[in-house]
Amino acid sequence: MIETACTQGWQAELRLGFVQHSTKTVLANRSQRGPLAVQRPFYPEGDVCHAYILHPPGGVVGGDCLQMRFQVDPAAHALLTTPGATKFYRSAGLQAQQHQHFHVADGCLEWLPQENIFFPGANIALHSTIHLDTTAQYIGWEIHCLGLPSIGEQFTHGKTLFKTAIYRAGKPLLLDRLLIASEADLHTAAGLRGQPVMATLYATPATLALLEAVRPHCQDIANGSTGVTLLNGVLVVRYLGNSTAQAQRLFRHLWQIIRPLVTGRSATPPRIWNT
């Protein structure tokens, strides 16, 4: 079924392999098909490989199929982000798909992208599958904006399916699935409660000490709600509100607390966050 859905539009695939060389992590393997790209890595921290992932310049439309396959080898450490929001445009019918397959051997991956914006009428399946080896470290987030709240356009029609699966040593630690298939799905009482922005941050391995350190920062916020919990060794922070900027600010702030406790490294923000 995935094959048929992907026969029109961009067929993009980006495979990246990060390997630890003597003093730093290098982007040792790269294969690219279609308009998904990676910029030349840089090293603001010396050894950690920072890289920007670029989406198709015109955004994502129905029928596009984007595959990202990132592999982090033992002892390697990659920090990936995106320089801008990813826009998913209204579909004439076809579904667009974005699959993120991450495999982290006993190294570290940080996936800290800008937000995904779903225009009214977009039809998109966004799947993230993260396989971690026994001692792998992972910090990642997704910020989803349904509709264009800044200009008052709600996601009155369209369909989004978000799936996240995190496995460690083959066993599922966390499975998350959310389908928005009608306007009513935006307003469910225990679901989105009419809020257009939904964001989740994951960090593992996480301890109770990390939970305690993050918790004071996940209290009451204006026009939204946040909460943090720890399950199966994964710290999960959730945001539900009306502002992608607020979600980004919260997550970037929390990342400064989380990163040293998960990876043992001080938080050196990607250069692009300063612009």
Binding site: K171, R177, T188, A190, T229, V236
Partner: protein
Amino acid sequence: MVAGIRTDISMTMITDLALLRLLHLVSPTLPIGSFTYSQGIEWAVECGWIATPTDLQNWLASQLHSGMTHLDIPVLQRLYHAVERADVETLEYWIHILNASRETSELLLEEKNRGRALTDLLIALEIPNAARWKPLLAQSQSAAFVLAAVHWQIPLQQTAYGYVWSWLENLVLSAVKIIPLGQTQGQKILHEMTLLLPEVVTQGLQVADDDIGASSPALAIASSRHETQYTRLFRS
């Protein structure tokens, strides 16, 4: 066609004894502490998300149509068939799926605590395999629930009805204490919401493997925040 109809009838037929066993299995007097959980309702009331009977009904209906339809019932169905075949590997697989889909520490802990309490009870009642499979069943109240149901020959569909009814009754009773509402108001809510259950069970039993899972962001936040709620009476 005939075979299909026959299967269908045998799936829904329940003997008198099995019906009595089902009533026992879902009884609030079962010593598994069902009345001590609110699944985030306690915080949802404190923050103002649930203030009226209508708010409560919307909150519960939202869960019935998401998590109950797309996670609990389809997993219950797979656990049921695994127990029928004494297929421990499949049983374990679906317990892992269910527990990885519980959205907060408290919701996962509730699944496990109730699983352990119910397994101990089933061992005391000498239900076959309860003792042998305890390490697995003690991780999941759904798994322990279906072990009893299969042993007592309660058909799958009725097992699912019992499971959903028990969930709904416990949460309404918790909410009545928390909001608070009158006992009669609680019964009116139960009476009305029962009408939703046939569709929830029917749909839940048709969900394909790939479509299993349904998160509820507001519930997950309410349950996360409940972990440190200042005054709380409930364990979730």
